[in-house]
């Protein structure tokens, strides 16, 4: 039973991985990643890592894949150009991948690790369950645990800053000529919330930043140029 389960899960993991690489549309690639992750969770269960299997399903299939799905849907299907910076890249890459696989397999299987071709020692019933891992994590590995929590916090803050709209709005008002044309409204924050919202909507609909600024400036006209008449 264990061997059958292993081969089914291994085929699922491998098929999912190849699907990620081969799918043209990133959206389908993400769906193939879900198959891969669930198969890996089964493999983790076979290796008596129950907590990690649960974490794999919750963290990856629950959180990370949702992020990927949103970004893939937001970015949309981009067609990759056929231009190759290195000639013969399409044939070289699978060759290098196969070479890497052979090298890794030889490095592990031909090593002096005798235990690698056994089933591993018999372990107690609590091997890899949340209580055991929690004890290890909070006693022996407390400092890496805290460091990873700090890292998660930094990543969350960094992602919010990276993906926020403020950077784009500032860049859109960057040319000094257009800023002089339409006065303080060009700072991106002083134009009132509605105008800023409208500008962002317009920038989302595909204008380039430069023409966008010109259009805003021409719509406002010279009447909006003095600072006293800017709408609040």
């Amino acid at each position: 039973v264990e061997a059958v389960l292993f081969f089914v899960a291994a085929l699922g993991a491998l098929g999912g991985a190849i699907g990620v690489v081969a799918m043209r549309n990133p959206f389908y690639g993400v769906l193939a990643l879900v198959v891969h992750l669930f198969s890996l969770a089964v493999l983790f269960l076979l290796l008596t890592a129950a907590f990690l299997a649960a974490a794999q399903v919750v963290v990856y299939a629950g959180a990370v894949v949702v992020l990927y799905v949103f970004v893939a849907a937001y970015v949309g299907g981009q067609t990759e150009s056929a231009w190759e910076p290195i000639p013969g890249q399409r044939f070289l890459a699978p060759l290098l991948g196969a070479a890497l696989f052979v090298e890794l397999s030889v490095a592990v299987l031909a090593s002096s690790l005798r235990a690698v071709s056994t089933d591993g020692p018999d372990v107690a019933a609590g091997f890899g369950d949340p209580a055991a891992l929690g004890n290890l994590l909070l006693e022996k590995f407390l400092i890496p645990f805290e460091a990873s929590s700090v890292l998660l916090m930094l990543a969350a803050v960094g992602a919010v800053i990276l993906a926020s709209r403020r950077g784009v709005a500032e860049e859109a008002s960057a040319p000094p000529v257009s800023r002089a044309e339409h006065g303080p409204a060009g700072d991106g924050g002083a134009g009132g919330p509605f105008e800023r919202f409208a500008r962002e909507e317009r920038s989302a609909s595909g204008d380039s930043p430069l023409t966008l600024n010109r259009r805003v400036a021409s719509e406002e006209g010279p009447a909006a140029a003095p600072p006293t008449t800017t709408p609040s």
Partner: protein
């Protein structure tokens, strides 16, 4: 199943992920392939921890999962920022940082 099956499978998954990074140009797909490679590393860590009969390898795999989640969040934030600036989503065209 003996441990070496898991190790060979992990090597295979890692090679597939590396091949994907070499082949594809979309940054989203490259991040997906990075996920594949990190997961292959996790599988090897857990297989070796089973081989030794020690749970510390599983803690290591858990930390790798955390780092992978951070990397995904920052990478996807970068992709969204690139897309908002209407730069091409193609790692061969975004090469200004190359010396």
């Amino acid at each position: 199943m003996s441990i070496d099956w898991y190790i060979v499978l992990s090597a295979l998954l890692f090679a597939v992920g590396a091949m994907g990074i070499l082949l594809r140009r979309s940054p989203v797909v490259i991040l997906l392939c990075l996920e594949l490679m990190l997961n292959a590393g996790n599988l090897a860590l857990i297989a070796f921890s089973r081989m030794v009969g020690n749970q510390q390898g599983q803690v290591f795999a858990l930390v790798v999962m955390v780092v992978a989640a951070c990397e995904v969040v920052v990478g996807l934030g970068l992709i969204v920022a690139i897309f908002r600036r209407r730069l091409p989503l193609d790692v061969d065209e975004l090469r200004e940082l190359r010396g």
